[in-house]
Amino acid sequence: MTNPENPRNKMLELKDKHGPVSPALLESVRQNNAAKAAIKKALAAGPLTVPEIAEAAALPTRTILWTVTAMRKYGSVVEDSTDGSYVRYALVAKDPR
């Protein structure tokens, strides 16, 4: 018998009420995770600018900047230095996520 007070059951009840998670949302989460993985891979060799990461990851510069901005906010990337008109970003030693 399910316990309605169990938080997990409450979540599943809400999910039933709202219907299945949209494929578009799941796809955006997948793409964001892929972009973050590509950025981490590119930065593993050392600090890079947004255009340099974009070239290494084969993704648009706009996507890289947005994702790097998110990673900086949540603590896995920091500003390293500036290179002419661009900022170099680096991975933090210990990723909190």
Partner: protein
Amino acid sequence: MTDQRIDTDALVVGAGIAGLQSALDLADRGYKVLLVEKTASIGGKMIALSKVFPTMDCASCITTPRMSSAAHHDNITTWTYTDVDSIAPDGTAFTAHLTRKARYVDEDLCIGCRLCEYACPVELPHEFEGNMGARRAAYIPFGTAIPQKALIDIDACVYCGKCEKACPTDAIDFGQEPVSVTVHARSVVIATGFETTPLDAKKEYRGGVAANVISALDMERLLSPNGPYGRVLRPSDGKIPDSVAYVQCAGSRDETLGVPYCSRVCCMYAIKQTMLLSGSLPLADITVYYMDIRAFGKGYEQFYQTARSMGINFVKAKVARIEEEPNGDLRLRVEIIEEDGRVTEAVHDLVVLSVGLKPGDDPRRFIGVDLDQYGFVASPEPKLDATLTSMPGVAAAGTAIGPKDIVDSIVEASAAATKIATYLGPPPNSPQVPEDGLAVDVREIKAGDALAVAGRSEVQRG
């Protein structure tokens, strides 16, 4: 949906700077105030600004004490994430129906630690940062948000349960439902604020299409010390811009947009931003394309002249169109008004559209006050009593009445509070005043007591 019912002296709709000021003024006089805000934090647009003109005060430093005072005031109940569904006259008072939306987080248990946010796997463009930064599906609205309580954007939730596991106080509550509340209010203040004209309103400017065409509110976030990038970068590729252009009247004084009026603040916020930009980007060329500069307030003309003397390039011109180059640069086709009307082209790294102001909400959605032709709340006495509305017991304040700057919004908010106080009469439990004059003997007044006496005489008049 469950139901609640409460009574209050004043219902203040909107917790931007005008709503906060009206609520605080009424509460300080002893009236019970219910302050409701549709978003998840109080503070309105002002809390997102970098600095304010012409004093160049930090906007957060001015707004957060007001937000905090309202949130902790004994006479103010603050409800965020609350929609006003209807407010109708009910004899000499009003009956309001509100919906407190589900945050899916127990506000009493949440300690604002953000562990749910760190655990959440869904990242989305953050509206507060002009979509240039990210938030998660479980999030706290922004760093100085009040209340510092998380909420879950249920439309973006993937039901992974990670937030629940991460929460140290078991505050996540997926069983939460919207709460319908009936409020019996003796008076109402409408402070629903403004929205900016859409970035893509003028298709020829490529706003919303070209990444490096941004709105002035986006630039406020870029200039803010806690903005999305932590510095001024252009959104297409993170370049530190060498050349920034402002296009004035990009959403105002334009019949085709239904905004024929001047939005009153765009000249001054653009001048302020150019001065801040010249500090953060000392080598950048900054150009303002304008039709007229309207620097009408106290100290505003000097502010404009200071910007000119700092080397900001003001060009009296009309921008006809903006085209995006493959590298993200922007090519502006410009008619120079002041010279011979010649048409020229200029290339900039980043273009800021000085978007205009329009009503933040349609008050007719929930209350039967008269509006003007543009949707702002109309006063029957616009010259003599700007905060009046067509309904007795209902006042309006700030940009809900029309475009205006922060100084005027705050003054108007205090005026609205005074009108409501006069309408309500003395608050319950106000000091008893003897019939023959002041409640204190004037012979006993010392220099430091002046303010207290002024406050007390105001209560008498109330």
